[in-house]
């Protein structure tokens, strides 16, 4: 396997030079199937995305050990969109047009996904998107292997309501599209469950917010109204560390006011002493602590690949594991890497996930997943305290929002539509 690192600016010049000479040389030796990896290796999002690049390289290497795909070796093409949203679109174009990749695995933030959507549509290629997101989207060329809101947020709220008897809710998030949409859905859901408006407090903070004193103190006050209170946190990546530090220092224990987070995984906890945080929760579809043989094998392989047995695994890595295996199986089923053939053959493909079950690709290009609620442990891991009894089907359009509850997505013929309005019977209903 050869890994070609094409770094932003110098990359263009090099690629142009190499294209004429090296490209023909490679073809003569051995024909490969190229797989694009579109994750930021520099800038603010590098903290989360670099790991995913490594995970993809590991998966590709393992597939090549098993003999590759359709008798050919796989070749990873890594680019660095540098946490710069417009650059994501440029790099996606470069991957598809210049490098001729058969599929792209990448993106983290919703903004970056929205920025590459038109490119994948125009050039008709495939994107596997591995991160939990706000839903309200289904696109023909994109496969959403992360959780939709009904596979993460709603079950987490159900758990707190039923198991911990929570009656008062703080919805705290970073001020951007994912938390705002998720909180809109959650607010509608809570009200549908009979929670009064004065029992819901919504709070937004800027990106990278580091002074949490006032908010933590507000949460404490809000929590002293005689009803069991919980915080539902959609606070993004970096801001979590000071938030949890402040919680710990202010003496808010999980037994008094639990915090359930949707963006905090093993990776984010790595920079923290989790002693004071034991019992705070996270909702994901995978935890490193899941004790199944297939997960132990995955962790061992990851430690062997990175040569570092302290590296953690996390939920988006599992999403890539599932997405990659689905793509491999769909290509084998179709007998070609042609995007149209793969889009047709991938619906219904079922592959093992790391929690001991199987995940299937649904017609709306979302997948089925179990939902796990985990509590933070003092070793920086999560302990599963609750899980759904079966698999949950990812719902592209939320049932709790006006304008989206009538919409469904089905990319199989004859419907082939990402936003079919069941009320009007037409494709292309309202919604973003």
């Amino acid at each position: 396997m050869t890994v070609k690192h094409t770094k932003s600016l110098a990359g263009y010049a090099l690629a142009a030079m190499l294209a004429s000479t090296a490209f023909t040389g490679v073809q003569a030796q051995e024909e490969t199937i190229k797989v694009g990896i579109l994750h930021s290796l520099s800038g603010t999002m590098a903290i989360s995305e670099t790991t995913l690049k490594d995970a993809m390289l590991m998966l590709i290497e393992e597939q090549n050990k098993k003999g590759g795909l359709l008798g050919k070796k796989l070749e990873a093409v890594v680019v660095d969109p540098a946490s710069d949203w417009p650059l994501f679109a440029e790099k996606a174009r470069e991957l598809i047009e210049v490098n001729g990749v058969s599929a792209v695995f990448g993106c983290w933030t919703s903004v970056s996904r929205k920025s590459v959507l038109p490119v994948f549509e125009e050039l008709n290629s495939l994107l596997f998107y591995p991160v939990q997101y706000e839903g309200e989207e289904s696109q023909r060329n994109v496969f959403y292997t992360g959780a939709a809101p009904n596979q993460q947020a709603i079950p987490a709220v159900d758990y707190l309501m039923n198991e911990e008897g929570v009656e008062r809710w703080v919805l705290a998030g970073t001020d951007y599209v994912y938390p705002r949409t998720t909180n809109k859905i959650l607010e509608a859901y809570l009200k549908a469950k009979g929670v009064a408006a004065e029992d819901i407090m919504i709070n937004y903070t800027p990106f990278g917010h580091s002074d949490w004193q006032t908010i933590v103190s507000d949460i404490k006050t809000f929590g002293s109204a005689g009803k069991k209170t919980a915080v539902v946190s959609t606070i993004n990546g970096d801001a979590n560390v000071p938030f949890y530090k402040e919680l710990g220092n202010a003496g808010i224990k999980a037994e008094d006011i639990p915090v359930v987070a949707f963006s905090v995984g093993e990776e984010e906890l790595a920079g923290l002493d989790t002693g004071p945080l034991v019992g705070h929760l996270a909702a994901w579809n995978y935890f490193q602590s899941v004790d199944t043989e297939v997960n132990f094998d995955f962790i061992d392989a990851w430690h062997a690949y990175t040569g570092d047995d302290t590296r953690v695994t996390n939920d988006p890595m599992e999403a890539h594991f599932i997405g990659f295996n689905m793509w491999v199986e769909a290509v084998e089923k179709a007998g070609t890497t042609d995007p149209d053939a793969v889009i047709d053959s991938i619906v219904g493909v079922t592959v093992p996930n790391l929690t001991g079950g199987y995940s299937a690709m649904m017609p709306n290009h979302h997948i089925t997943k179990p939902v796990l609620i985990g509590e933070i442990q003092d070793d920086g891991q999560f302990e599963t305290v609750w899980e759904t009894s079966g698999l949950v089907v990812g719902d592209a359009w939320s049932d709790y929002l006006e304008g989206s509850k009538d919409l469904i997505a089905d990319w199989r013929a004859p419907m082939s539509c990402g936003n079919f309005n069941t009320a009007t019977g037409k494709c292309g209903g309202s919604g973003s």
Partner: protein, 550 residues
């Protein structure tokens, strides 16, 4: 319903039970009865391994009811997530992680019981609800613990749980309690439990008074719970008590905002004070200032890693070593930047801005390559962890130390600039470079050292900020805007302006935040600064003199 006499007699009964238990514990080894007790307790503990949360909860309650204090270590281990069972035979052990294996201990005798691999044992799951149950169970088991802190904790656990069954053990414990502080906590716990019980109204009114005297959020929370009950007398008493608690709370809220503002101000001061030298005094628009802070934070990480491997017992002193190290690292990098780039760009602010911006990106990516993109864990030494309570003001130690530290750094810098020969040179060179050079001052050396000083101070700030923020390559970016804001607002070239600017912005931000929300508060502060600069372009303290007017 319980009457007073019955309660007293059952309190005596509880005392008797305690005595019997104490005797049983002392003599258990010898007697056959105790041995069967032992087996029964072991069966009860082993039963924790089976079933779901509800089963475990029933089992914990059963153990608590049996009241054997020997169960306490196992329950504590369960709450801490250290209680595992062996898959082969469902035997329960207290474990400790040992590499990738687990070291086992017997839950009753606490003797060593070998090791097991991670696939052989399974953890007994607990969640927050179970931890609450365990805390209450342990509360009744540890009300007579020798350590006063443990007794207070036990009483507080009962206060929170409002555990009606604990009234009798509490009264028994109260009668024997000599420590007034512990006794107060116990009385409050008893009052909370009484409010949840079905005792007559006079008892409850008395309890309301006891709880209201606490005057804190927990008290308010508890009182709100009963204020909408059916009993009107209680209802009124509770509402009056709540009103009183809230009046007190209002005052404390103001105090809290001032403290939060001071704390935020000190963070801003630390971040900006180095910039007050490089930008304020030297006039260099240094966009790589934030990266100096980051370098300081990473130096702290490296120093702490060395301490962890070489001398873990002296970990608390790691910050004291990190301070000079961070000053040197950031200072040397600063001097290198000044000598390598900035000196060629004198009086070309736009080019300086772009060049230092480039330097900041290079430094970020270098750190990312060396240390990886993820957050690094910087520990808090023990004197910086936790919080103290002044009335109802929770003051966290790390914030307190940062306020103190910021003021110390400020004073030291002020002295260095005003009272040393080096400070005189710096002021001379910045006010009139050519004149100073004519007087025999080596201006290039002074430039390099001044920039090094500013960067070094930023490095020191990084040591402090590593205690409250992420240590990641992006650390510096989040402070650069705030730093410029403080320096410009305070008045370029004036250290006192920076001090006053930082605290003004901090306190203003914290009073706006509860009203307007964090996002809007930040915007409002920014708008305010823009308007202020329109009115007073030179900031709070304008520097006067010919150099400025020129």
């Amino acid at each position: 319903m319980l009457t007073r006499t019955r309660r007293r007699s059952s309190a005596l009964g509880a005392l008797a039970v305690f005595l019997v238990l104490a005797v049983a514990t002392v003599t258990f080894a010898g007697t056959a009865a105790a041995q069967s007790d032992d087996a029964a307790l072991r069966t009860q503990l082993n039963a924790l391994a089976a079933g779901d949360f509800d089963d475990t909860q029933r089992q914990i309650n059963a153990i608590a009811e049996a009241g054997d204090p020997r169960a306490a270590p196992a329950l504590e281990a369960l709450a801490d997530g250290d209680l595992y069972f062996r898959r082969a035979d469902n035997a329960v052990f207290i474990t400790r992680k040992d590499g990738s294996d687990y070291a086992l201990r017997d839950p009753l005798t606490l003797e060593d019981a070998g090791t097991a691999g991670r696939r052989e044992v399974k953890k007994i799951r607990v969640n927050n609800r179970l931890r609450r149950v365990i805390r209450t169970a342990l509360g009744t088991l540890t009300l007579r613990a020798p350590d006063p802190a443990a007794r207070i904790e036990a009483a507080d656990a009962i206060f929170k749980a409002q555990d009606v069954d604990s009234i009798e053990p509490l009264e028994a414990a109260l009668a024997a309690e000599t420590n007034t502080d512990v006794a107060r906590h116990m009385r409050e716990a008893r009052a909370a439990a009484v409010l949840a019980s079905d005792l007559p109204t006079p008892d409850k009114l008395e309890a309301i008074a006891t709880v209201a005297a606490r005057g804190d959020r927990d008290a308010r929370s508890l009182l709100t719970g009963i204020s909408n009950g059916p009993d009107t007398a209680l209802h009124e008493a509770a509402n009056a008590a709540i009103a009183k608690v809230e009046r007190v709370q209002g005052l404390w809220d103001t105090a809290r905002n001032i403290w939060f503002g001071l704390s935020l101000g000190s963070v801003l001061l630390l971040a900006a004070i180095g910039l007050a030298i490089t930008f304020g005094v030297m006039g260099v628009i240094n966009m790589a200032h934030g990266e100096m802070v980051m370098l300081g934070a990473y130096t702290t990480f490296v120093v702490q890693s060395l301490f962890r491997t070489a001398a873990p017992e002296y970990f608390d002193y790691s910050l004291i070593v990190a301070l000079p190290a961070a000053f040197l690292v950031a200072g040397l990098v600063g001097i290198a930047i000044e000598r390598g780039i900035i000196r060629f760009l004198h009086d070309r602010p736009l080019e300086t801005l772009l060049a230092t911006w480039g330097v900041s990106l290079i430094l970020q990516q270098t750190v990312r390559t060396i240390f990886g993109p993820t957050n690094r864990e910087v520990g808090n030494p023990s004197f910086m962890s936790g919080a103290m309570e002044i009335g109802q003001l929770t003051i966290t130690y790390n914030r307190l130390w940062i306020v103190v530290f910021a003021l110390v750094v400020f004073t030291a810098l002020l002295v260095a600039m005003k009272a040393t020969r080096f400070g005189l040179y710096v002021r001379a060179v910045t006010q009139n470079r050519r004149m100073s050079a004519s007087m025999g001052i080596r201006t290039p050396l002074v430039d390099a050292l001044t920039f090094g000083l500013g960067s070094g101070i930023a490095g020191i700030a990084g040591v402090a900020l590593s205690q409250i923020d992420n240590v990641s390559p992006n650390l510096g970016q989040s402070y650069i805007i705030d730093s410029f804001m403080v320096v410009v607002f305070g008045g370029v070239g004036n250290l006192w302006g920076t001090l006053l600017g930082a605290f003004t912005l901090g306190i203003a931000n914290k009073f706006l935040e509860p009203v307007a929300g964090a996002v809007l508060a930040k915007i409002l502060v920014l708008v305010f600064i823009i308007l202020f600069i329109q009115k007073r372009p030179r900031g709070l303290f304008a520097l006067k003199g010919r150099a400025v007017d020129a």
